[in-house]
């Protein structure tokens, strides 16, 4: 049994002239939740497609359950439960037909469990997939991803545009997966509240590069929001070495920094400023600071 369910080493990929992923390395330990954040176009879906074996690594290496998903797709895919934003489902099938169809792909498909999920989600077994609402499609996709109790639940912005009840169902699926010993979750999301709620580790992609990576608690502890008061009002954002972002007006400016607190403090001595407030930065602030840095 491998210790890291996903291992990515120096992964790079270009689409024409565009660098979609640049030298990305990360590991996802078994039994943990890994949250991936980043702006639209940062490379999150591209990364996930490499995990699924849909893209071959141009440079670097991808290993899932210790296998290369491109050369060994069956060994990898039958242990993955995948759900993306607006899942691609066969419109012409009825729900019960779709469930039977999925069962054929997954040896570990649990029929009673699948049925209990369907009932819990309130999806009509006789309805054709094409008449399902967006939320119901997401739930059906979630059913398909969960019912074979995958060793890896892989979610690509699953909650986008969905109501809080469906988002709750998705979060519950994440929690239950990890509560079952040895199962792992990797999900990308814009909803930072969800990422903060359930992630053990987080990573942030910005223009194809990993700008943040590590345990959630450690990343949050390292990022501080410091409010500085200047002697004289500043006409524009002062240049503060060590700051990821500087916001404010006049005399008071707020800085987000990453482990540079002492550097900023020593600077205030020479700049004629004082620190009037300090707090842990929220993940939202961390995200915006790194995206704009």
């Amino acid at each position: 049994m491998v210790e890291n369910i996903i291992e990515i080493h120096n992964l790079s990929r270009c689409f024409g002239s565009k660098n979609a992923l640049k030298d990305v390395s990360l590991s996802v330990p078994r039994g943990t939740v890994f949250g991936l954040v980043g702006e639209n176009g940062a490379g999150k879906s591209t990364l996930i497609k490499h995990i699924l074996g849909l893209w071959r690594a141009e440079a670097g290496q991808v290993r899932v359950f210790g296998h290369d998903p491109v050369s060994n797709p069956v060994a990898v895919l039958e242990r993955i439960g995948y759900l993306s934003e607006q899942p691609d489902l066969p419109d012409w099938m009825r729900v019960y037909e779709y469930m039977r169809y999925m069962q054929a792909f997954y040896p570990k498909w649990d029929v009673p469990y699948a049925e209990s999920l369907r009932a819990q989600f309130g999806v009509d077994r006789n309805a054709r997939v094409r008449v399902l609402s967006k939320g119901q499609r997401a739930k059906l996709g979630l059913l398909g991803a969960q019912a074979h109790r995958p060793d890896l639940l892989l979610l690509d912005e699953p909650s986008s545009g969905l109501d809080p009840i469906v988002r709750n169902d998705i979060l519950t699926a994440v929690i239950r997966t990890v509560a079952d010993e040895g199962r792992t979750v990797f999900f990308s999301s814009h909803l930072l509240e969800e990422i903060e709620r359930v992630s053990d580790h987080v990573a942030m992609l910005h223009q194809g590069r990993l700008v943040l990576y590590g345990p959630l608690d450690r990343i949050k502890a390292q990022h501080r929001r410091i409010t500085l008061r200047f002697e004289t009002p500043q006409p524009k954002a002062p240049l503060i070495p060590g700051a990821l972002s500087v916001n404010g007006a006049g005399r008071e400016w707020t800085v987000i920094c990453n482990r540079q607190r002492s550097q900023i403090q020593s600077l205030t001595m020479s700049f004629g400023t004082e620190i009037v407030g300090e707090d842990a930065a929220s993940l939202n602030e961390v995200f915006i600071a790194h995206a704009n840095a």
Binding site: V33, I175, V178, L192, R197, D217, L283
Partner: protein
């Protein structure tokens, strides 16, 4: 269990959970011998990662606040916290009483004799009266 966790706060979730369980014990909402929800139940109820619950439970066990019985669950240990608070309150009562006795110009021996007499009197009383502070 009515616990409120804030994922956006600067305080790590596992620490928030530890503090809230301790608070529940201090206020008497949780008593010695009470069983905490299982890791899975707690995680699902609070909508947090089960690993977070495990971390909190392990820390509480390490501090002697709860006991993890393999196979049965997590139970609240005999806690000194309520007793400590009580003792602090009692101490301030004694201090106030002593202040007043001293202002009456009594000696230490006189004060001690008064207290011993009063304790003796109460021992021989048929029913125990309970005072609320």
């Amino acid at each position: 269990m009515p616990l409120q966790l804030n994922p956006s706060s600067g305080v790590p979730l596992y620490l928030q959970l530890i503090e809230q369980i301790k608070h529940a014990i201090e206020t008497g909402a949780l008593r010695t011998g009470d069983q905490l929800p299982s890791v899975r139940q707690m995680a699902e109820e609070l909508m947090i990662n089960p690993n977070t619950v495990v971390r909190a439970y392990r820390e509480l066990e390490h501090e002697g606040v709860i006991e993890l019985k393999h196979g049965s669950g997590a139970f609240i240990c005999e806690s000194i916290a309520p007793r400590t608070k009580l003792m602090q309150k009692a101490h301030s009562v004694v201090q106030q009483a002593m202040d007043r006795l001293e202002s009456l110009d009594l000696t230490e021996d006189e004060i001690r004799r008064l207290i011993e007499n009063e304790l003796g009197r109460r021992r021989s009383r048929p029913t125990k009266k309970k005072y609320t502070w």
